[in-house]
């Protein structure tokens, strides 16, 4: 009996133990499955984040549209690259047909900025009353930028590229908890959206300070902003940026920028923030805005599993991490020097009324002796008055181009400086670089310009070959230094000519030994006969919007007036 009871108790314990073990195994397996599920979810989320980060990077770098070979779009060749100088010789020479000329998210703000700069130049010239056809060209530039921008927006709204970029990286991320052969891929559908984040924050285009970036007498309040970062990197403390997703209104046109906060990289954002800034949730006036944020959904499935797989959604804000400066890299100012002449003046009816007599005589950039004419009855009560041999050219001899433009006789130099400095800065593409008035004068003061003038080179081009400095050279040298000028050298400004300096004059340093013979019974009135001279100068400016690369013509006209005064008086009086 005892033995029987012992056996029965033993069997019950074994059964209990077995049940317990089974339960424990089941619980363990359940926990294991749960852990695998949770881990798989995390892995899927991580893989989706990775895939979307890749989307954020690749859409900025790889999604691009070509510039069409139409006049309005070809003008953007010089900003369809990542250099400050706009240099891309091959594409320049092929007129933009080369497929190297692509506009992506890095460059599109640069394109808009160039169109804006052309618009600013045209509007400023128009307000001055010398706009010519600049406004019409500004409209063409605007349409060109808009057309490129719209195409890029369309391309970015296509999801195929984003699916591809997602799969490139998401698929490499481990989701082993869902199965050894599990992989994450894009789950195509409506969760792939775009949004417009960081509204009102800076774009990746900087602008030179207003005194350098704006033409004289022109202002655009609120055009620029400082970096909106809480802790602005030291390098960017002095930078001014255009503002993203904020309408930049000029005349009857609205220009746009995409915000890319300075020195940031693509990063994940919250779904709430993303959803609150979609075009539908918060519209803007931009007809076809270019988005800067993208959402995407990934799904992790194992080939060996019939399970539906894990899903995750991520939201990424893109940023090309590249900053440009609003500029027209392939642009120039032409400096033209008119031929110089000596003009001879006499006073046949007294010292109040001058009369030009004799043909004007041309002189070059060296000293020359001109024989003054002899004017019959060229002075009051004089048989004749004759100007002597006069040495001319003292105003231009051994002068550099800066002295020819700004030197004696000088008046209103600040007006010339204002236009030239503004245009010089419009050529500069390097971020943070400003061409000061002193640098402008330094460039114009190149001693070589003395030799160019001596060699009778009277047409110069001011341009930037490297996007950092300006150079001033005669045409034939400029074409070598900046080959893109080959296609542009004949372009003229689209504005009309204005006079910046009106008849500046100063006493000429010349020796005019005048002779005169009085009429019979008359005597010369001392101190006559006397001679003197004036150096004269006019400076003209023809503004160019930059649409055709020409930012303006500066024309300098110099001449020498030589006066010969003889007054006689009837000796009987």
């Amino acid at each position: 009996m005892i033995i029987f009871l012992k056996k029965k108790r033993s069997r019950g314990s074994i059964a209990f133990g077995a049940v317990l073990a089974v339960v424990l195994v089941i619980i363990g397996l359940a926990f294991f499955a749960l852990a695998m599920y949770m881990g798989g979810q995390n892995e899927t989320k991580n893989a989706t984040d990775a895939g979307m980060l890749n989307v954020g990077k690749k859409v900025a770098d790889n999604v691009s549209v070509p510039i069409y070979p139409t006049p309005n779009e070809l003008i953007f060749i010089d900003v369809a690259n990542d250099t400050t100088s706009g240099e891309d010789l091959l594409a320049s020479l092929t007129g933009g047909i080369s497929d190297l000329k692509e506009i992506n998210m890095h460059r599109i703000n640069r394109v808009w900025a160039k169109a804006l700069q052309i618009g600013i130049n045209a509007e400023a010239a128009d307000r001055d009353g010398f706009g010519g056809s600049a406004k019409s060209n500004a409209q063409k530039a605007f349409e060109g930028a808009q057309s490129i921008s719209n195409r890029l927006a369309d391309k970015l709204n296509e999801k195929a590229d984003r699916y591809k970029y997602f799969d490139e990286l998401a698929g490499q991320n481990s989701v082993r908890m869902l199965g050894t052969d599990a992989k994450t891929r894009a789950l195509q559908g409506d969760n792939w959206q775009t949004s417009l984040l960081e509204r009102g924050r800076e774009s990746n285009v900087t602008v030179a300070p207003p005194e350098y970036s704006m033409p004289p007498n022109f202002q655009m309040p609120n055009l620029v902003m400082k970096s909106s970062r809480k802790n602005v990197p030291a390098a960017a403390k002095d930078f001014w940026f255009l503002s993203g997703y904020s309408p930049i209104k000029l005349a009857d046109r609205t220009f746009w920028q995409i915000p890319y906060v300075y020195d940031e990289t693509p990063h994940m954002v919250s779904g709430t923030e993303f959803a609150a800034n979609t075009l539908k949730a918060k519209p803007i006036d931009w007809e076809k805005p270019i988005p800067n944020a993208f959402s995407g959904e990934g799904i992790a499935v194992a080939k060996s599993s019939k399970a539906p797989g894990q899903k995750a959604i991520s939201w990424v804000l893109t940023n090309p991490g590249q900053t440009f400066k609003m500029s027209i890299p392939h642009s120039f100012v032409r400096i033209k020097l008119d031929k110089m002449y000596s003009h001879w003046y006499f006073f046949p009816v007294g010292p109040q009324t001058k009369v030009e007599y004799g043909d004007p005589q041309e002189y070059k950039y060296q000293l020359d002796t001109h024989n003054g004419p002899k004017m019959p009855l060229g002075g009051a009560f004089c048989m004749y008055v004759q100007a002597g041999e006069v040495e001319v050219g003292g105003d231009v001899l051994a002068r550099n181009l800066d002295q020819i433009i700004f030197g004696l006789p000088d008046k209103d130099n600040e007006k010339i400086e204002a236009y030239l400095v503004n245009r010089a800065n419009e050529m500069i593409g390097k971020v943070g670089k400003v061409i000061s008035v002193d640098e402008l004068h330094d460039s114009l003061s190149d001693p070589l310009t003395i030799l160019y003038l001596l060699a009778e080179q009277t047409e110069f081009y001011m341009f930037s070959a490297d996007g950092e400095t300006i150079e001033i050279m005669p045409k034939y040298l400029a074409l070598i230094r900046a080959p893109w000028l080959l296609l542009k050298q004949g372009e003229e400004p689209d504005g009309t000519e204005m006079k910046l300096v009106d008849d500046a004059d100063c006493p000429a340093v010349l020796l005019n030994k005048v002779s005169a013979k009085p009429l019979p019974k008359c005597i010369l009135l001392p101190p006559t006969p006397i001679g003197w001279g004036l150096w004269d100068k006019d400076v003209y400016w023809t503004p160019g919007s930059g649409y055709n690369s020409c930012l303006g013509n500066l024309r300098v006209k110099r001449w020498t007036e030589i006066y010969s005064l003889g007054i006689a008086f009837p000796s009987l009086l």
Binding site: A380, T528, I530
Partner: protein
């Protein structure tokens, strides 16, 4: 008007008929102008106001560089009377260009001007060797541009000095 009537009466009565005819042919405007600027002061004033220039045969004592005094044939001086202060002086001497240039080069350096002289090679671009010398000099806001050039007529030197002061 009364003066002109008087003038005509005097001419008509005192001059020979031919001369009187010539004078009578002169317009009233000419007579008026001549009468108005008969004095040197009035002429000087006209030149100053109309052409913004004052002329003299002597260099002022406050001209920043001294006048060369050896074998001088002629001198002239003019300065602006309006706008940026500027002046020009010329001098002809029978001395040779190198001698005159050395005088001015030394004078500028003595007066602490910052002098720049182009190289002989650069000068050769502008004139035959030994026929022209030049310098530029700066001192504060003043600048001078000076050339000494062979003067054919005197077989000497023509000195041209342009002075200006930035305001």
């Amino acid at each position: 008007m009364r003066k002109q009537l008087l003038l005509c009466m005097i001419i008509g009565s005192a001059a020979s008929p031919a001369v009187a005819q010539t004078y009578q042919n002169a317009s009233q405007e000419t007579m008026k102008n001549v009468e108005a600027y008969k004095s040197k002061e009035k002429l000087t004033k006209l030149l100053s106001e109309t052409y913004h220039v004052a002329i003299s045969e002597t260099w002022p004592t406050n001209f920043p560089v001294p006048a060369y005094t050896s074998n001088v044939v002629s001198k002239s001086f003019s300065h602006s009377t309006k706008g940026k202060p500027s002046a020009g002086a010329t001098l002809v001497t029978s001395d040779q260009p190198r001698t005159v240039f050395d005088f001015y080069n030394a004078a500028c350096k003595r007066a602490n001007w910052k002098v720049r002289v182009p190289s002989a090679k650069a000068l050769a671009e502008f004139a035959k060797s030994g026929e022209m010398y030049m310098l530029t000099a700066e001192q504060g806001k003043q600048s001078i541009y000076l050339t000494c050039r062979k003067h054919r007529e005197s077989n000497g030197t023509l000195v041209s000095i342009s002075w200006t002061k930035t305001q």
